[in-house]
Symmetry: C2
Subunit: 252 residues, 2 copies
């Protein structure tokens, strides 16, 4: 599967080309193409902001025109911050990412155009594209740095596809305690509470017990945490007894 080409059209600042290279490599992209960069190419100003993404800068290719830069591609998306008076499919970054993944799975080569810092792509550039990629932001404050725009789009391409779980419980090598272990802990805790006279209003006991069960099962404790909590119960009861012992000395 080929990588997605990132095509900067008439970029002005070398710093932004460097920051784009960094954002690309962050997202596993390495095919950078430049169309008529204002300050020529190579541009030493790009080096530092690339923060070590030298491989992207060193293999970047320079073209005279958008048409030349996209000649070997099968599908091209044009990024725009504003809507154009043009009959063209408009995709979200997420939607474009799905289309690009699908196209690449079918062996098609894809690229994404980004316009100059001040003006964005002009309409003739956009007309060369298969579709528009519109990054919808705060309409009252939508100005995005060029490399930030590349990052948002590149991250959408990298973002795990829908099969990736939205969240998982990381346990740092520990294993989740099974239900029996949690129930044993709860039984011990509730037994201790009974012994120590916690339930002064006996009619409240069932709901308190239920709440404790809900709390512990919601927390999904690990084996290590169950052991820690057993230790907590032991020490608290020991302290309490010592405390009572100190306050109310007995003969034995």
């Amino acid at each position: 599967m080929s990588t997605t080409a990132i095509i900067l059209v008439r970029p002005q600042l070398g710093e932004n080309i460097g920051a784009t290279a960094r954002a690309m490599l962050n997202c596993k992209l390495d095919d950078l193409r430049l169309v008529a960069p204002r300050d020529g190419w190579p541009n030493p100003a790009a080096r530092a902001p690339a923060s070590g993404a030298d491989v992207v800068l060193d293999t970047a290719r320079c073209f005279d025109s958008v048409a030349a830069a996209v000649a070997d591609l099968d599908r091209v998306w044009a990024t725009t911050a504003r809507h154009r008076d043009m009959v063209k499919e408009v995709a979200t970054p997420r939607g474009a990412a799905r289309q690009i993944h699908d196209a690449q799975a079918n062996g098609l080569r894809c690229g994404i155009l980004f316009g100059p810092e001040r003006t964005g792509l002009d309409n003739d550039d956009v007309a060369l594209a298969t579709a528009i990629l519109h990054v919808s932001l705060n309409p009252d404050f939508s100005s995005l740095n060029l490399a930030q725009a590349v990052l948002l789009v590149a991250y959408s391409l990298l973002e795990p596809t829908d099969e990736t779980p939205d969240s998982v419980l990381a346990t740092g090598g520990d294993v989740a305690a099974d239900h029996a272990a949690v129930l044993a802990l709860l039984d011990r805790l509730i037994g201790a509470l009974d012994e120590d006279g916690f339930f002064r209003a006996p009619e409240m006991r069932p709901s308190v017990v239920r709440n404790l069960h809900n709390f512990f099962f919601r927390a999904r404790p690990t084996d290590q945490e169950v052991r820690t909590l057993h230790g907590v119960i032991s020490i608290l009861r020991g302290s309490r007894r010592s405390f009572i012992d100190r306050d109310e000395p007995t003969d034995d």
Copy 2:
């Protein structure tokens, strides 16, 4: 619905605080909180990189500790670039965004912690969070600028929810041509091709006609485009006749 708080923990560079404010306002966030910024607060170095997001800088609040900064919140996510040896739910930006939207719909106040530039959050900071927000990038090149990390996460919060279509056909005010209009254009085109002797191999005619139908319907032309294409057919036939006229003059 409350906005999501962005909490920068011990940020080092004022420039990054400013760029964070810009990224926040790009994504409609305005509750910026700073925990023990290295160079104090306010910091004039933040102003220019904010690119006009002054409202975010001017209302930013400064705290001595993470605990103080999150005291009024109900749910807190800790962003990390690497996995921690900790028992904690780990969400993708998209997953965390869903959780945050759900929580806010239930009236809960949410915030997201971002660590210092060089080191990220320390484990004691992470332990104060409800869950981890892990931005998964190129494992060989995952270093992300602080404001870029904020942008990726903030954009995930802004990103249209799943009801938003992944792509739509923008028509710039023009209306899609109905099937009858496209069929009339095709009839005229094919009639012209018949008249002008295009189908030299008559057995090929059905498949060529089918291909033309597929092409035009796939392109989903608008009314204006259908009119333009009628004009194209007229002028091409006119030119061709003129061309023939010039090359092969006749008596009439």
